[in-house]
């Protein structure tokens, strides 16, 4: 699925970038790529390089003939043969015109790509089994020539592919290639309207990742059939971005066992949360809800300030997740575990009952803000079985309301609070 939205001239998007933060100039992660990218190194002009580029295409540039192009070539060969056979200058004129049209096609194709640049931006959170969008921003930096008929070839695949299954019998080449393509999702999105000079466009590619973990999104090539459909020109980009795919959400059953140590209601805690009592004011950080902005304080101080409330005085849960390889031997069950933990963490956070999570004896990752939850999900995305999980330590070592997880049978997972089963998936 591809949708397109327009943005204004590129200068304004660069303005937004300019006011974002004090990031060093040369370490901008969202560089522009393509013939019109300003960050490209300008080489010293050399005739040798120019002449060679006319004969041999640059690296990753592919030009192939389409069916009409093949037909045109065949027609040119036929007319050329007839011209030499009959020494008819009329046929020579026709042949010259056909060859000139082919040259014009190449020249216009070069003009079409000139001044265009693009960048890849996987947007939003990636979650296994959920459709997400990959955004491509395209700009035409030419002064007065538009660009037409561009397409973008995208692909996504897990960064670390699972080991291939041992084949029961010898596989044919087609099967081998199919096996290699099994985890790769490819797509092509088209820029259907022309790209105005000094204009920009945004294209979205909907993709549904299938596996948790690190995934690579790649913009493989930008192509076009412009102008006459004789030649298919592809500019390989090798533009990659690594994204983290969170575990999928799963259905689970919450039996609702309450812990033994419920605190007194109304008791204030010194921890930030979603309660009603104002705890403090702090500087705005990206991700904070706009409803929490303290406008008077912001106007006084000249910067955005956020109200921070104390947490409710009920006990929050701590999720303790240990993944010894000896216990979690089945990969599907392990994936279910990660999905279960992630889903449970989100649900608990949404209801304000999640204090934090600890993974394999590591420190407690407190979840006060949405960003903390996202960090937890990032950890879950990367989580793998370990040989020896560390022992629980620190203040929460003897804490209460700790949810632990254990396998149930060959496929199930159970969650226990203080030794009592409270949920299962």
């Amino acid at each position: 699925m591809a949708t397109m939205a327009k943005v204004g001239p590129w200068a304004s998007s660069s303005a937004e970038r300019a006011v974002e933060g004090n990031r060093p100039y040369h370490s901008d992660p969202m560089d522009w790529h393509g013939p019109g990218a300003a960050d490209r190194k300008r080489r010293v002009f050399e005739w040798r390089v120019l002449l060679w580029s006319l004969v041999f295409p640059p690296k990753r540039h592919r030009i192939s003939l389409t069916v009409p192009g093949l037909f045109l070539m065949g027609l040119s060969v036929g007319i050329g043969t007839a011209a030499y056979n009959t020494a008819s200058n009329i046929l020579f004129i026709t042949l010259s015109l056909l060859l000139a049209c082919l040259l014009l096609s190449g020249l216009l194709s070069w003009f079409n790509f000139m001044g265009t640049c693009w960048r890849l931006r996987p947007s939003g959170a990636w979650r296994a089994g959920h459709e997400t969008l990959v955004t491509i921003e395209v700009e035409n930096r030419k002064g007065w020539l538009p660009s037409y008929s561009l397409w973008f070839e995208l692909a996504t695949q897990p960064r670390h592919l699972p080991p291939p299954e041992k084949p029961e019998k010898e596989m044919k080449m087609r099967e081998i290639l199919a096996a290699a393509e099994k985890f790769v999702t490819r797509g092509r999105i088209f820029l259907r309207e022309r790209l105005e000079p000094r204009g920009a466009a945004t294209l979205d590619w909907g993709v549904k990742p299938t596996r948790r973990g690190e995934a690579v999104v790649e913009l493989g090539a930008v192509g076009s059939l412009f102008p006459f459909g004789f030649l298919r020109k592809n500019i390989g980009t090798a533009l990659k971005q690594t994204v983290l795919v969170w575990p999928a959400q799963v259905e689970y059953q919450w039996t609702g066992a309450v812990s033994d140590h419920a605190g007194a209601s109304g008791q204030r805690t010194a921890r930030a949360g979603t309660g009603d009592d104002l705890l403090a004011l702090r500087k705005y950080e990206q991700g904070d809800s706009h409803r929490l902005i303290h406008w008077k304080a912001s106007a006084r101080l000249g910067k955005l300030m956020i109200r921070q409330f104390a947490a409710e005085s009920h006990d929050g849960y701590v999720l303790r997740l240990d993944t010894p390889a000896a216990v979690w031997t089945r990969p599907e069950q392990f994936e279910l575990l990660c999905s279960f933990v992630g889903t449970l963490a989100e649900d608990l956070y949404a209801s304000g009952r999640l204090r934090g999570i600890t993974l394999n004896g590591g420190p407690l990752l407190e979840t006060r803000r949405i960003r903390d939850l996202e960090a937890v999900l990032d950890e879950l995305a990367r989580l793998q079985p370990v040989e020896e999980p560390g022992a629980a330590s620190g203040e929460w070592g003897a804490a209460k309301n700790v949810i632990t997880f254990a396998p149930e049978g060959a496929r199930g997972i159970t969650a226990h609070v203080d030794g009592r089963q409270t949920a299962s998936a």
């Binding site: 943005v7 001239p9 300019a18 037909f71 027609l75 200058n89 008929s149 102008p227 459909g229």
Partner: protein, 742 residues
């Protein structure tokens, strides 16, 4: 969604409408080329062209045709083609009619991409075949028009391809483009058109034409095979008057036609003192309907046939008074298969190896078949003379008198045919009476007889384009006319002189061709029109030569008359002559461009380049020498001061001009796009580039980051958020300086 202005571009339906328009235009251009061809298809072209035009204007019309009709169209075309093949003697006209039908079918039906490409191929077939068969100048114009339409058509197809979304559309949506209002459509086209893009497209098209011209010149030429292959699939007839049989009136019909029959390029027009007689065909056998090429002469031509590119006309080394330099003939198709020869020549050279029929005694050269395209050939060392030397003729005539040829050898040349005229008592009686009247019963040489016969004819008959034959039984037409006072045309005069000479015992024959022509004032070539068609006689002088005798009133026969006529030679500088000169340029530079011309062109380019280089070098050497002499002159303070002042003035003027140009450029840019041009932003951009270069190889410090941040704010940010520019630039300078020192 962005708040940017919506781009001006055509939507999918408008693109489809534009594609329909371009496809129809392309088809009409290809049908137009059929008019150049002499095939029986003009009615079909008229009908199909009208229907295509109607479908162009009302694109919804094809949608109203029942589906059954579309399904039956292709079988109907196949049946029509089969019937055409069966009934037509030639293959190529059938193929052309088939192509017309297919173009028509594809143009008026709603097409998808594959069918669009079929339309292009079919249209191109018509255009190329017409061009190859006719080599007409109009083909060049139509080819360019077709190329422009074709490229636009392909461009729109590519845009439609890119604009079409996946998923099926309803039939109404598919044909929505046919219901667009033309006025609104053209208004949209006008709104979308950008003059810069149109100018760019026009420039590119011009570049394509120039590039194709350059490719045409440099593509190496070498002939792989002889002969033009398509002429085997179509027959063509020559105009009457220049065929093997010329009936009385055939030549006169041509005189009413003002179209150009041939063009003759002369490399040297000086020395040309007379209007040439362009001999095409020799008609030596008399029939009551007219004169014709005898079977014996035909047989001689066939026996003399050879496949060659060059013929020798005269013996090498013979002294002649050659005029005109090299004569290059461009004969329009349909004139004749006989080649016009103005006189004796040393060499006849065709454009390519061709089968030629040749009779040296009669000085007749003919192609084997009627040519479909323009025929070109060259003659060298042409001598314009009224005499045609035939050394064999006396022996042949003597042998024929002594031993009359047997009836079975009908294709053997019989010189006695030049003495046979109207038979029968009545005819002979009239002829003998007239001969007696001319000679007065005395013996006289051939020249004298010819002169008196011409006077006799001109005194009794005036020239007119129409002749009324008097009644009379038992006599041939020519004898009846001879014996009357009716006016007549050139054929009657020539035929009359011939039969009179034969009756007097002098071999004579009729020759048909052209006489005269007009010099084109633009390109210096002879334009000979069909109206210059003429017939005259040749009388054997009793020794070794045939003497031209033109009895038509107004013809010039004496040297004095010839000189007077040459003085009156006009040049045609009218508009039609100007247009006609383009045709000669087309023939000269394009159609006749062969490997020899290519080598000549390369030689001339090489010579020009070499000469230019030599001239440039000579000028440079001279300049260097003068400068050296000037420098070596004694120097004093005044001279040094003057020189320094001059140099300073030149430098200052150059600097001033550069600054002025820069100022003008900046002002123009500010006028053109004021919103994008800001000197502060420009300077900030320049500083950012410098900072990027200086921080490239090392980690940036905190100060650098702050300066870069401020520079980016100046470059990209809103004016209200700018820090003080001067301070920023000063800090950037300091940061860069300190970066360099580190």
């Amino acid at each position: 969604m962005s708040t940017a202005a919506k781009p001006r571009q055509l939507n999918l339906d408008e693109l489809r409408r534009l594609k329909w328009l371009l496809g129809g235009a392309m088809a009409l251009v290809s049908l137009w080329t059929v008019f150049f061809l002499d095939v029986e298809a003009l009615g079909l072209v008229a009908v199909t062209g009208s229907v295509i035009l109607a479908a162009l204007v009302w694109p919804q019309l094809p949608g109203r045709v029942p589906a059954l009709v579309w399904k039956l169209s292709v079988p109907a075309i196949i049946v029509a083609m089969a019937a055409d093949f069966y009934f037509s003697p030639d293959t190529l006209p059938v193929l052309i009619r088939l192509a017309i039908l297919l173009v028509f079918y594809r143009t008026v039906s709603y097409r998808r991409k594959r069918e669009d490409l079929q339309l292009i191929v079919l249209s191109m077939f018509l255009v190329v075949v017409a061009g190859v068969l006719t080599s007409a100048l109009g083909f060049a114009f139509l080819l360019l028009l077709f190329t422009a339409c074709g490229l636009g058509f392909l461009f729109v197809i590519t845009l439609i391809d890119a604009s079409e979304t996946e998923g099926s559309r309803t039939p109404e949506a598919e044909t929505a483009w046919t219901r667009l209002d033309w006025r609104r459509f053209f208004a949209r086209l006008r709104g979308v058109a950008d003059w810069r893009l149109l100018a760019f497209a026009a420039t590119l098209f011009t570049a394509v034409v120039a590039m194709s011209g350059l490719l045409f010149l440099i593509i190496p030429r070498f002939e792989l095979a002889s002969g033009f292959f398509l002429d085997r699939y179509i027959t063509r007839k020559s105009r009457t008057g220049f065929t093997d049989t010329v009936k009385f009136g055939d030549v006169s019909e041509l005189i009413r036609d003002e179209s150009v029959a041939m063009r003759v390029d002369l490399s040297d027009t000086t020395g040309l003192r007379e209007s040439p007689y362009w001999r095409l065909v020799v008609l030596d056998e008399y029939t009551p309907e007219g004169f014709k090429v005898s079977a014996g002469l035909k047989g001689e031509l066939i026996r003399g046939q050879r496949v060659t590119q060059q013929l020798r006309g005269r013996q090498i080394g013979r002294e002649v008074n050659a005029v005109g330099g090299t004569w290059t003939f461009y004969i329009e198709p349909g004139v004749s298969r006989f080649l016009p020869l103005p006189g004796s020549y040393s060499t006849l050279r065709m454009r390519e190896v061709s089968p030629l029929q040749f009779s040296p005694g009669h000085r007749v050269v003919a192609l084997r078949t009627e040519p479909m395209t323009m025929t070109a050939f060259q003659l060298d060392e042409v001598e314009l003379t009224p005499l045609l030397t035939d050394a064999r003729f006396p022996q042949l005539l003597k042998a024929a008198r002594e031993t009359p040829p047997a009836g079975t050898g009908q294709y053997r040349y019989d010189p006695g045919v030049n003495l046979r005229g109207p038979s029968g008592e009545a005819n002979e009686a009239v002829l003998n009476r007239v001969v007696a009247e001319i000679t007065g019963g005395a013996e006289m040489p051939v020249e004298e007889f010819t002169r008196r016969a011409i006077i006799w004819l001109q005194s009794r008959h005036a020239y007119a384009l129409s002749a009324r034959l008097p009644a009379g039984l038992g006599k041939d037409d020519i004898v009846r006319w001879l014996d009357s006072n009716e006016p007549g045309f050139c054929e009657y005069f020539a035929a009359s002189l011939t039969v009179l000479a034969r009756a007097a015992g002098h071999p004579a024959r009729v020759v048909a061709g052209f006489h005269g022509g007009v010099l084109n004032g633009f390109e210096n070539y002879y334009m000979v029109r069909n109206s210059d068609a003429h017939a005259w006689a040749e009388v054997y002088d009793g020794k070794t030569a045939w003497v031209r005798a033109d009895p038509t009133p107004g013809a010039v026969n004496t040297p004095a008359e010839i000189a007077a006529q040459a003085a009156r030679q006009q040049q045609d500088s009218s508009w039609s002559a100007r247009v006609d000169s383009l045709r000669v340029l087309w023939y000269r530079r394009i159609v006749n461009f062969d490997s020899r011309a290519q080598v000549q062109m390369l030689d001339s380019v090489k010579t020009f380049t070499t000469d230019s280089g030599v001239a440039l070098r000579a000028r440079f050497d001279e300049f260097s020498k003068r400068l050296k002499d000037w420098l070596q002159q004694p120097w004093d303070a005044a001279r040094a001061g003057r020189t320094a002042g001059l140099l300073a003035g030149v430098v200052a003027l150059g600097w001033l001009l550069a600054r002025l140009g820069q100022w003008g450029w900046l002002r123009w840019r500010l006028w053109r796009r004021p919103q994008s041009f800001d000197p502060v932003r420009q300077k900030a951009g320049r500083w950012l580039s410098r900072m990027r270069q200086s921080t490239q190889d090392r980690l940036p410090g905190a100060e650098d980051g702050e300066v870069i941040h401020d520079l980016r704010r100046l470059r990209y940010g809103r004016r209200e958020t700018w820090p003080e520019p001067r301070g920023v630039f000063r800090r950037a300078k300091q940061a860069r300086r300190s970066a360099r020192s580190r």
